[in-house]
């Protein structure tokens, strides 16, 4: 730090040591011929103008008082940090209230310590250090024309020396070699998809749910209550306006299945149905719709009995459950797909097949699946 003779040899090296309160000498003074474009020059008058205050010392009596206050703050920080350590040892965590006590003690002590330390330093800066109003000159960001010209010359001669311009074969094969180099890391990401399915087939998985698969013994899947896993006897689900959240039997804890196959079951009086509902797929006034919102996939979990509206809490898409769950409001563009249901010989509700259209949010390869179903006379 003592060495003042640098190879750069800029003029400011020879300036005498600076005294506090004087403006900084600038390393670039005079090295740039052209003036700063658009800069006003009037302000330069202030440079070296003794009328502009630079570092005004504080009043010593006030500073001494401030020192005491700052010291008090630092002591407070010390005390708070000791309290922090004590609290760490004394308060054990575990249940809600024990954790709460430890949390408040640790956090309170930490907050106090930081706050006091910050205040002490602020008092130090504001009331003990001098008030500074120092001036430093700016200079244009651009390098001088000479420097740029020299760089340009060096660049050109370097390029020529390397032969990259003249030797076309070298250049072209190099470019050729580099192209696949950029591709390699992208290819390596292919296995991010761990299904192993061919890329073009990926979307086919989105169109189906487990409801289309037969249960192990070849029997159709039963509908069971989400959470309890209870199968549902159609005769017991008999109060109109009733609603249940339902999942496929055997998959109660498989989140990947639940994300597509969760269903809401609603009991209607037969006369309440409107034409949008496929009555062949209901059983005794019980209708099943996908619970996965066709907007972006939240569970459409709310049901308003009087209006028969299914409401998705995420962005308030509203579906008319009496009318094939068609959209009556909100950003969802398509009805919730209806699941064909019936009963097995013991009277439990079962799925008769998969949803006719893909459930959940739309995707590029989905196409107008509803129209497809209509064309095929109600089958997907």
């Amino acid at each position: 730090m003592t060495d003042n003779e640098h190879e750069t040899g800029q003029p400011e090296r020879r300036t005498p040591p600076r005294v506090i309160g004087t403006p900084l000498s600038d390393p670039l003074t005079g090295s740039l011929p052209e003036p700063l474009p658009g800069a006003e020059t009037a302000g330069d008058d202030h440079d070296g103008d003794p009328a502009v205050p630079r570092a005004v010392p504080q009043d010593e009596r006030k500073a001494r008082k401030a020192e005491k206050i700052a010291a008090l703050c630092f002591m407070l920080t010390f005390a708070a940090l000791v309290a922090f350590l004590v609290a760490y040892v004394r308060f054990q965590v575990g249940g809600l209230s024990a954790t709460g006590a430890s949390h408040i003690a640790l956090g309170g002590a930490l907050t106090l310590a930081l706050l006091a330390l910050a205040s002490g330093i602020v008092i130090w800066v504001r009331q003990i250090m001098p008030k500074y109003e120092m001036v430093q000159q700016r200079h244009p960001m651009a390098s001088s024309a000479d420097v740029r010209a020299e760089i340009a010359a060096t660049f050109v001669s370097g390029a020529a020396e390397s032969g990259i311009v003249k030797r076309r074969l070298l250049r072209r094969t190099l470019l050729l070699a580099a192209a696949p180099l950029g591709l390699a890391p992208l290819v390596l990401l292919r296995d991010l998809d761990s299904t192993g399915a061919p890329v073009a087939q990926l979307h086919k998985r989105l169109a189906h749910t487990v409801w289309g698969e037969k249960a192990k013994e070849g029997k159709p899947l039963r509908l069971v209550v989400e959470g309890t896993g209870q199968p549902i006897r159609a005769a017991d689900f008999n109060s109109p306006g009733g609603i249940l959240s339902v999942v496929p039997e055997g998959y109660e804890h498989d989140l990947n299945v639940l994300a597509k196959a969760t269903v809401i079951l609603i009991k209607f009086r037969p006369e309440e149905f409107k034409p949008g509902t496929n009555l062949n797929w209901t059983h005794d006034g019980i209708v099943a719709y996908s619970k996965i919102c066709t907007h972006v996939g939240c569970p459409a979990a709310l049901y308003e009995q009087t209006t028969h509206h299914i409401l998705c809490p995420c962005h308030q898409s509203t579906f008319d459950a009496a009318d094939g769950a068609k959209v009556v409001f909100g950003p969802a563009a398509r009805p919730l797909p209806q699941l064909p249901i019936g009963v097995d010989e013991q009277g439990y509700l079962i799925a008769l097949g998969d949803f006719p259209t893909p459930v959940g949010p739309s995707y590029w390869e989905r196409g107008d699946a509803e129209a497809r179903v209509r064309e095929n006379g109600g089958h997907s």
């Binding site: 500074y132 809490p313 196409g367 107008d368």
Partner: protein
């Protein structure tokens, strides 16, 4: 106590050691006394910087216990209501951090609060830079770096929010997935590559984890470093004022004043965030329970910085198109794609391009180191306010259900109000702001031409009353006068110059004339030269009044 006369040995020794190896002396010599101007609004960026430091520290602490796994286990910890519940290891370990690690809950909450302060601080900082024109040459690159950091930070927050794998974070993740899969052409692939299969799969938490703790923080750290280096090299802007010009910096030196003040401000930021983390509960994940795609907690809300996307999703009409009818391709869910991409894209791209568009319109290629007062560039300020209004409406309608519940308006009306406001509010904000700016310019001009109201009322010979005006203080006057007209492209008379021909050139010229110029000229005269502005005071009274 005696003062220091020479560098103490303990410091001189290591310093010499380092300088002999690094030759850093000349750098230190030039920079120890680097001048930093002072203004409260310059602290906004510091708030963001310090909360990022806090995020790095607290986040690292969290990684010591957090298990980024979607593997299922049965909870057997001390939190009684969830005993015996099947949940992911990620959720269980977040519960462990909250209930079994001393200070764990504190650090988790500090981390979450710091994330909010980080992003909020960056937004406020970006607004300061925008409204004062501090993005102008030579600082366009630093502005771009800032825009990139802000965008990355949104994704950093999104990935972090998803890690604990509670019911609330899962709802957010589900929405993210619904957006990803809806993207035209690539959506399905992205979905399978991100989730390792269909939603939710088994991989997303661990992937988000490496993105959240390594990839994005590393990027942000690198960009923040570049941001600070550029700020250091280009020096801070300053507001116009006495002795402050485009060619100098006036303020306090880095060593010791700015250093100590920044240290204090870091501690103060930390104290506030620690206080919030202690006393203001945030994200009590134990109340939500483990994630299941079949359940949702009513009234779920994302963190504030995501709410504008949420609002856009909510007020969007239900549009979806199938380009090829029933063919298995060509579905574009506009009701997802537009709200997810358009507002964010407009704001980010608009921010990124603004400095260049402004330069193109004004033809202003000079360096600017004096911060504009927002009123002095009314169109820019109005554009900024319009963007705030746009963002604000979307943000507000991220809670459209809460709005309609609170004000007893049905959702249908509320949502329609949002659809209209998202266009009307920016236009209104633009018009109002423009008026206000001109009004403020006028009052500046009035102060300069006939002084400030002194509060002294004088009775006139004719019986009327009038307030005595006194000249503004020197520093205030310098502050007000430190403005220059916004450059306008010269139209070159009959033959327009090359860049201004053709329809685009003519548009450019028109915009330049509208954007630039001096809307309310300020008088050159000094307040004491009363006779220049006889119109400002009752007939013939001004001279007598201001003397």
């Amino acid at each position: 106590m005696s003062d220091l006369r020479a560098v103490p040995k303990r410091i001189a020794g290591p310093a010499t050691f380092l300088d002999e190896r690094l030759g850093a002396g000349s750098f230190v010599k030039r920079n120890m006394r680097k001048i930093f101007p002072d203004h409260w609004s310059f602290l906004l960026g510091e708030i963001a910087l310090y909360s990022f430091v806090i995020l790095l520290l607290t986040g690292t602490f969290l990684t010591f216990w957090f298990k980024p796994s979607m593997g299922e286990i049965v909870y057997n910890g001390p939190y009684a209501p969830l005993k015996g519940v099947t949940m992911s290891e990620a959720y269980a370990s977040s519960l462990k951090i909250s209930f079994e690690v001393r200070g764990g809950l504190l650090i988790r909450q500090i981390h979450h609060w710091a994330a909010l302060v980080f992003i909020g601080g960056m937004m406020a900082h970006a607004l300061r830079v925008f409204f004062t024109g501090a993005y102008r040459k030579p600082r366009e690159l630093n502005w771009l770096i800032g825009v990139v950091i802000l965008s990355i930070a949104l994704f950093e927050g999104l990935t972090g929010y998803s890690l604990p794998d509670d019911l609330l974070s899962g709802a957010g993740l589900r929405v993210t997935q619904g957006v990803v899969i809806g993207l035209p052409v690539v959506g399905t692939y992205l979905n399978f590559f991100l989730f390792g299969g269909e939603y939710p799969g088994e991989d997303v938490i661990s992937r988000f984890y490496s993105i959240h703790i390594l990839l994005l923080p590393g990027l942000i750290l690198a960009l923040v470093t570049a941001h600070l280096i550029l700020m250091w090299v280009q020096k801070h802007t300053q507001f116009p004022g006495k002795g402050r010009t485009n060619r100098n910096v006036v303020g306090a030196p880095f060593y010791p004043a700015f250093m100590a003040k920044s240290g204090a401000f870091f501690l103060f930021t930390f104290a506030v965030i620690a206080g919030l983390g202690t006393f203001a509960q945030i994200n009590p994940i134990w109340l939500y329970g483990p994630y299941s795609p079949a359940d949702v907690s009513a009234g779920s809300q994302p963190d504030f910085y995501m709410a504008f996307l949420e609002g856009a999703l909510r007020i969007m009409p239900a549009w979806e198109i199938n380009l090829f009818g029933t063919a298995e391709a060509g579905t574009i869910p506009l009701s997802v794609v537009i709200p997810a991409l358009v507002p964010l894209g407009l704001i980010v791209v608009g921010m990124a391009l603004y400095p260049f568009i402004e330069r193109w319109i004004t033809g202003d290629n000079r360096e600017h180191h004096l911060a504009d007062r927002p009123r002095n560039n009314p169109h820019r300020t109005s554009i900024g306010m319009a963007v705030i209004a746009f963002y604000g409406v979307l943000w507000l309608f991220g809670g459209n259900d809460l709005i309609s519940a609170n004000f007893q308006v049905d959702l249908y009306t509320t949502t329609w109000a949002g659809r209209i406001l998202v266009f009307a509010a920016p236009a209104l904000a633009y018009a109002i702001t423009y008026r206000i700016c001109l009004g403020l310019q006028r009052s500046d001009a009035a102060v300069l031409s006939h002084g400030v109201e002194s509060g002294v009322i004088k009775r006139l010979p004719n019986g009327g009353y009038v307030e005595v005006h006194s000249p503004p203080a020197e520093d205030i006057e310098a502050h007000l006068r430190g403005r220059e007209a916004i450059p306008v492209l010269a139209d070159g008379g009959d033959v327009p110059p090359k860049g201004l021909r053709g329809p685009i050139g003519r548009l450019r010229l028109r915009m330049s004339k509208a954007y630039g110029g001096e809307k309310i000229p300020i008088a050159n005269g000094h307040p004491h030269d009363g006779d220049e502005h006889p119109d400002m005071l009752p007939d013939g009274q001004n001279r007598a009044l201001t003397r």
